[in-house]
């Protein structure tokens, strides 16, 4: 434990003792799992409190022989908060525990079988000493290092390790696909907007042919003309970019307040919106690049306008 705590890559560790138990509901026994957890570090590192929908997570520590049940499990057992339920250990010993809260992770199958108690409670029930633990959960600063560190620890401690990416492989794939879709939509929109600016500037150049000709005749070189039109397109880009960001921010603030309730995500009541500034920075960069290119081609065309042809044409 100390070795893990002293590792600089590790944010926190928490101990866990899991065992299979039977929950007694009248004459029927329901198979389930009991996880003995160190409630303080669970709350601190894994936001355990967010999953406890009813009751206080800290009661696990303060109330002796207390238990937090998965909500569907509690419903099956007809157990309200404050009730005492009976459990049977694999060794056949019966033990009364007081229900202090409901737990809901959003995964119904998981909630149907899980329950949480304090580490020492499980150790007592199983008749094991204080040092008996079955799992150690390690939280890292950088989630991306997890697979490498998992392998490293497996070697050092000669034990089984599993990294979060492997454990949640399906979730990762879904996430990647969603990201690809949203970026693809974003880039398509920017290309469309880019063509819009390209068209506006092209029209503007036709309209301002005379102006370009006179600027050239009075001593403005092609480069100067190009700079003027690039300046126009970049200023369209900058104004559009900030107007868009502001509009987008307002819209996402509104969406964030819309009710969004699903059994899978019990702690979320409104649409989840990530206001990470990185997304705004990406948007700024992409929009400026698009407007630059959308302006570059018409500007180059304007810079090549031959004043003689225009002045003669009158």
């Amino acid at each position: 434990m100390d070795f893990l705590k002293n590792d600089k890559r590790v944010l926190g560790v928490s101990r866990k003792v899991s065992t299979q138990v039977f929950f007694n509901s009248g004459s029927i026994d329901i198979t389930g799992f009991m996880n003995g957890i160190d409630i303080e570090s669970e709350v601190k590192f894994y936001k355990f409190n967010e999953y406890v929908t009813t009751g206080k997570p800290m009661d696990l520590k303060y109330v002796p022989n207390s238990i937090i049940l998965g909500k569907p499990l509690a419903q099956k057992l007809l157990a309200d908060i404050g009730d005492v339920i009976q459990i049977t250990t694999p060794q056949g010993e019966r033990f009364p525990l007081k229900v202090v809260g409901y737990y809901q992770s959003g995964l119904a199958d998981f909630d149907k079988t899980q329950s949480f108690v304090n580490t020492s409670t499980v150790q007592t029930i199983l008749g094991k000493p204080n040092s008996y633990i079955t799992d150690i959960q390690v939280k890292l600063y950088d989630i991306k290092q997890a697979p490498a560190i998992a392998k490293e620890y497996a070697k050092v401690f000669d034990t089984n390790t599993e990294d979060i990416q492997t454990a949640n492989a399906q979730f990762e794939t879904g996430n990647n696909i969603r990201n690809i879709i949203s970026y693809a939509v974003g880039i398509t929109l920017l290309i469309v907007a880019g063509f819009g600016i390209y068209n506006i500037l092209n029209m503007m150049i036709f309209e301002k042919m005379d102006t370009i000709a006179i600027l050239k005749a009075t001593g403005f070189a092609g480069v100067d003309v190009k700079r003027i039109f690039l300046f126009i397109s970049i200023s369209i880009g900058i104004t559009g970019c900030f107007a868009g960001l502001l509009f987008g921010y307002i819209l996402s603030s509104i969406i964030e307040r819309l009710p969004f309730e699903t059994a899978a995500l019990p702690t979320i009541k409104t649409f989840p919106v990530d206001f990470n500034p990185l997304y705004y920075i990406i948007a700024i960069i992409f929009s400026l690049i698009t407007t630059f290119f959308a302006g570059w081609f018409p500007a180059r065309k304007a810079s090549r306008v031959d004043p003689v042809i225009i002045i003669r044409g009158k």
Binding site: I214, L215, T218, G219, G222, D224, K314
Partner: protein, 226 residues
């Protein structure tokens, strides 16, 4: 004491599209400082084409062109633009003012490009020229609120702002009525006499040409009299 401002030597030009058609044949002449010259000739004799070559805007020709004793052929587009800016003032048949700007701003524009003086100085000089041309009170009007004659005088002021070595005019009176033509001509004459300004004006108005000090007459791409 006279210095050569503009020297053209054996200038030839042909249009290549749709068929090869020569427009200018061995044009050679010089213009001295302070001269008020007009080029006349019938429509299509190549006088405008010649002016565009002399103004460095058209670079597709053979022969030699010197402005202020500097050879123009084989200069880059950027250098030519700078020379146009500094040494040549332009007055076109159509005024070509920028409608978005005020008169003053229009006049100041070439000088701002040259940026030899500070903006305040440029404004002062612009006002001085507008005053000399008698249109000082129009300075803060938008260019599209002016009459044709007024616009043409603003264009002349703009041509003068950088103290050019030469002012070129492409039928500056071609689009004006008799009265305004006279005003514009009077302005040119005043520039020539009071400020010793070198002027080269292309026109088909024989009265106008007759009143200038020197007339170059062109026909079919050749100079027949100068």
């Amino acid at each position: 004491m006279s210095t050569t401002i503009l020297q053209a030597k054996d200038i030839n030009k042909s249009f290549k599209d749709p068929v090869l058609m020569p427009v200018l044949h061995n044009i050679s002449f010089t213009i001295e400082k302070g001269e008020f010259t007009s080029i006349i000739g019938k429509s299509g004799c190549g006088k405008s084409t010649l002016l565009y070559i002399l103004s460095t805007m058209d670079t597709d020709y053979t022969g030699e062109l010197c402005i202020d004793e500097e050879l123009m052929s084989s200069k880059s587009e950027k250098d030519l633009a700078h020379i146009r800016n500094e040494k040549i003032g332009f007055v076109f048949q159509f005024h070509y003012l920028l409608n978005e700007f005020t008169v003053l701003r229009n006049v100041m524009l070439p000088a701002l490009r040259l940026s030899k003086y500070s903006e305040a100085e440029i404004e002062m000089r612009a006002m001085k020229w507008l005053d000399n041309l008698g249109i000082k009170d129009l300075a803060h009007k938008k260019a599209n609120h002016l009459s044709g004659g007024q616009k043409q005088r603003v264009a002349i002021a703009r041509a003068l702002i950088n103290d050019p070595a030469i002012i070129m005019g492409d039928e500056p009176t071609g689009n004006l009525d008799k009265k305004n033509s006279e005003i514009v001509f009077e302005t040119f004459r005043q520039l020539s006499e009071e400020f010793k300004q070198t002027l080269l004006i292309v026109t088909h108005d024989n009265d106008f040409a007759a009143s200038t000090r020197r007339t170059i007459e062109m026909e079919d791409g050749r100079i027949i009299r100068h």
